[in-house]
Subunit: 227 residues, 2 copies
Amino acid sequence: MDTSSSVPFRNGANQNAHRNPLAAMDGIAKSAHCGVGETIYFQDDPADHWYRLVNGAARKCVLMTDGRRQIVDFMFPGDLFGWSRQDVHRFSVEAITADTTVARYPRRRIEMLAESDSEARRRIFEEAFESISRLQMRMVLLGRTSAQEKVSAFLLEMAERCGAGCGNVVVLPMSRYDIADYLSISVETVSRTLTKLRRRGAISLDSTRLVQIVDRSALEECGCLYA
Amino acid sequence: MDTSSSVPFRNGANQNAHRNPLAAMDGIAKSAHCGVGETIYFQDDPADHWYRLVNGAARKCVLMTDGRRQIVDFMFPGDLFGWSRQDVHRFSVEAITADTTVARYPRRRIEMLAESDSEARRRIFEEAFESISRLQMRMVLLGRTSAQEKVSAFLLEMAERCGAGCGNVVVLPMSRYDIADYLSISVETVSRTLTKLRRRGAISLDSTRLVQIVDRSALEECGCLYA
DNA sequence: CGATCGTTTGAGGTTCCTCAACAAGTGTGG
DNA sequence: CCACACTTGTTGAGGAACCTCAAACGATCG
C-alpha cells in the first residue's frame, strides 16, 4: 500500500494510436512506465494534465476517511482519464501491472486543440460520452444486490474490456482485493463466489488470475439483467 | 405505474435561463408539462433530442429483465439530460412531480451550435463534466455498504441539490420507493433507517416528504466518508 | 529460509431482505 | 356524504446473504 510514489514522466512518442483523440498531440506528450502500485496522480493533485493508458492496467480510487478504499473504475489501453471540471483530481490513479505505460497531455494544450481542431474535438466528446455511458452501466452493476450478480457482471465486463481474442478467456490484471473494492463486497465473498461459479461449471479458474468463461449464458443470467 | 404515456411537446420559450448552455436555442426548443409518472422519453427511443428540466423533478431509470427497477439519477431544474453517444436512449426518464416542465432541443441543432459557438460549446462541455463528476460521486455513494450511510448520503445530496434556502430543509419530491430504487435497498429499510435517524435526533420528519436536517454532522459522519 | 502477501475456506454474528399486517392519505362512485 | 379500493408509508418477525474474525496454504521476495 505504501509503495506508492509519484511516477517520473519522460518525453517520448506513443504506440497504441488507435482510438486516440489526442493523437495530434503525441509529439509533446510525455510518457512514463509505472511499477505495480505506483501512483500516476494523487487525489487532490492539481488537474492540469490528461492521461491516456498506453499499456498495462490501472485503477482509479478514493480513500475514505475510515480507511476503506473504493475503486471507481479500471483503466485499460486506450482509455483516456484524468479530465476534471475541478482544479484538482477527486480520485487517485495507480498502476496495477508491472508493465503499465501512461501518456500525459497538458490540459491547456488539449483545450487549445479542442478549440482549433473540430475533428479532435468531436472525438474527445465521444470519449467523454463513452465514459458517461460506462459509468452509468457500472452504476447499474453496483445496484445489483447479490454478490453473484456483481461478480458475474464483473467477469462479463472484463471479458469485454480486456479479454483476449474470442472474449471468453480473461487474464485478470487485478487482485481479489481490487475486485472486492470495485464491487463493494468483501474479499472473502469475491473468492467464495468465484469458487461457486467454478463448481457450477460457469467458469474455470486455470490459475488465480486466469478465468475462462465456460457457460456464458449462466453468467449473463446473473449479471446482465438489464434488457 | 401504467399511467405512463408519452408527453406532448409544445412550442414555447423557457424561464429558468440560469445555468443553461443551450439558452441560444430556447427559441426553437419545445416545452412540455408532465403529470406525475408521465414518461418524457422511453428506453430504446431514438436519441435525437436533448432535454433540460425547467421545473419540477424527474427520475432516470432502467427496467431489469426480472422486473426490478433501478433509478440511475434524479433530475432537478437546470439539469441537462438525454445526451447519448448511442442512437437510442439507454434509460427512460419519467416526471416525478405534478408540475414538471421540460424543454426539448433537437440534437442536430445542438451539434451545429456546438460547432459554431465556442462559448456554448464550453458550457456544454462543463455540463457534461459536471454530469460525470456527479455520477462518480454517486458511485461512491452506492459503494457504501450500510443502509445508514446510503440514506445519510442521500439526504445530504438532496439538501444540496433541491434544498430550500439554508440547505437544511428538504422537501423530497420522490416516494420511498424511488429512494429505495435509487439506493438499491428495500423500501422497508429506507423507512426504518429514516425513523432511526429521527429517533437519534439527526433529522426531523415534519411530514413524510418534509425532512429537516437537525444534526448535520451526524449525517456527514455516516454519509460523507470520502475526505 | 523466514516474512509477507494474496487466496481460499470455515464459523459465528449482524444486517438487510422478504413476507405480512396495519395505518393514513387519496380518489372514485354510489 | 360515506363506503370502498388503492396507494404510500411504517412496523414486526423470520430467514437468508454477507461481513468479520480466524486459520491455513501457496507464491514471491529479500
